[in-house]
Symmetry: C2
């Protein structure tokens, strides 16, 4: 997960999106992600990779985890070093391991579909020593997502060869992707074995590995954290997409409809959630709404009553010391407003 600017003011620097119950489900996105994984693997096989500043928050939200199941990054160096660190850690514990990278700040409605798809991906990744990704069957020409161009012919059990990964397209390109039927949304869910991903790193991003492998004997020992704190900040700041995926040949995808969203914006949260009869998404328990239509209403205070009249297509977010009232269609300008705020108590 990120640094907490997308769902501001609900998300804050000290409380990014993945730690929020942003959907009103009663659990945070991180908790939902762990619950999903727990249907496929034992809790003891779940590892949380995160910036070290969120350690206490993670253990508070996931009391079933042992502190040893947290891999804490001392600096923000993007996803390639994260993946490499995780693979090296797992290599010390269990060199035969196959693992999945699951972003902790997305939503997935179809839990059963996810679980069976993940199981198939584990099997395929283990049996073929390849990289597997879940490819989300797209429902609209969304310009906010990356796309996967794939071979329509399945080679085995519905697994398809990936031709290439595409950055977020413009509107026209997105429409052509959807029309062709040869594109899927890239949800950032990858499955691979420790051996596979380390050999791909060796081949395509050896500089990342070189920094982390200065002393490989440290992984899996009580000295691992101190070692990582020392070497990790020296890794190149680079995404796994750029370092590995876009250059790799041996990638496969399982097209699947997960009811997935990355919840990138307030508007995408509005789209994702159930509406009342007037198309309002109301995430507060107590309300008196008159002539209200198409609004998203949320408060960090579970006991807050919202009394409102005559608003159309507004985002109404009451969060601790910030109240946001903004037209839903203009939410992209919220980011600039947030970034212009100097006073740290509001960030």
């Amino acid at each position: 997960g990120g640094v907490g600017s997308r769902f501001w003011p609900a998300s804050r620097a000290y409380l990014p999106k993945q730690f929020l119950d942003i959907t009103g489900a009663g659990t945070s996105l991180l908790q939902q992600t762990v619950l999903r994984a727990r249907d496929v693997v034992p809790v003891s096989n779940i590892i949380i990779v995160s910036n070290g500043q969120y350690r206490d928050l993670i253990l508070e939200q996931l009391p079933m985890l042992d502190p040893g199941q947290l891999l804490l990054e001392p600096s923000r160096n993007n996803t390639a070093p994260s993946v490499a660190y995780t693979a090296l850690h797992l290599k010390a514990l269990c060199p035969e391991a196959v693992f999945a990278m699951l972003p902790a700040d997305h939503v997935i409605q179809k839990q059963n579909v996810f679980a069976s798809c993940l199981q198939r991906a584990f099997t395929y990744a283990r049996d073929t020593a390849s990289i597997v990704t879940m490819g989300i069957t797209p429902s609209r020409p969304d310009t906010g997502y990356g796309y996967i161009n794939y071979d329509l012919r399945p080679n085995m059990e519905g697994v398809h060869k990936v031709h290439s990964f595409k950055e977020k397209p413009n509107e026209i390109t997105a429409r052509s992707y959807i029309a062709s039927g040869e594109y899927l949304w890239n949800a950032g869910i990858f499955i691979w074995s420790v051996g596979t991903i380390l050999s791909v790193f060796e081949q395509l991003a050896p500089d990342v590995l070189r920094v982390l492998q200065e002393n490989v004997n440290m992984f899996g020992t009580p000295h691992e954290q101190a070692y990582i704190d020392q070497v990790y900040p020296k890794t190149p700041n680079i995404s796994v997409d750029y370092a590995i995926l876009e250059k790799s040949e041996n990638i496969f995808t399982i097209p699947v409809d997960l009811g997935w969203s990355d919840l990138g914006t307030w508007d995408s949260l509005y789209s994702y959630l159930d509406k009342d009869i007037n198309n309002n998404v109301v995430l507060v328990k107590h309300k008196q709404l008159i002539d209200m239509e198409g609004n998203l209403i949320r408060s960090s205070n579970p006991d807050k009553m919202v009394v409102a009249k005559g608003l159309k297509d507004y985002i109404i977010i009451d969060d601790d010391n910030v109240l946001l009232l903004f037209p839903r269609a203009e939410e992209q300008s919220i980011k600039a407003i947030r970034n212009a705020i100097k006073d740290a108590q509001f960030l």
Copy 2:
């Protein structure tokens, strides 16, 4: 002051308007009222008459008062019993006293004018044994106020005979009042001596006095509160306007422009306060307002930031566990919404 429904959700049953810093001045309306009186009389001569439930709140807001300066009513029996009780209490302490009744939930901008007018009223009430009221020179045909019809010819020092008191008029009547020049707003500020008001009560509302005078020896003793707790609830529920003022002959008024408002509604608060360049009244310190016009913005949290765009003529009130977003022109329907709420935590 009242029971806290007019400025809901800022005012609550436990915190009526008079205890609120509703104008953003840094002091409550009660505190402002005491500060005004203190310019004319010593603090030790100030008495607060209130329902007993607000005792602790009053002493908290007015730490310079001795608890003995509070007259606490055990029941809500309207203003005639209040005035009679106050007069009987003062009679025991100082039978020659002249006193003013000052509503604690109004605003007065022109403090100096008020102080000199009050001094003149004290002198006139003492010297002539009559009832004196401050009559507010009206600035518009307001249908929310009662009016005083008075004799334009001053009899002495700008004091005028009152012909009659008028209930809140309709629009046409209010316009005729203003056009005639013979009407003032009734601010509910009355000045009289203990002897004068008690003899008027004896003459026009003897039943009120009879109940309270069951044992006159109790006033001014340590037993006064216990005695009042016992007899006060038996007094007739009647206003001093109806019981005394509308029937009395011997009433005079001093026409005066005090910059007065009874702040009866959110809209009257909006009218009263200073506007920014876009006609917003902004009572929060931290804000980012874009295309906002004619709004009233308030939060009970002094550190709350309000980020808003595109609202026109709205009341935006964030108060503890209630958020109110309502068109200013329709604020009269807020009362019905409040009254329909069952859950006491919001009232």
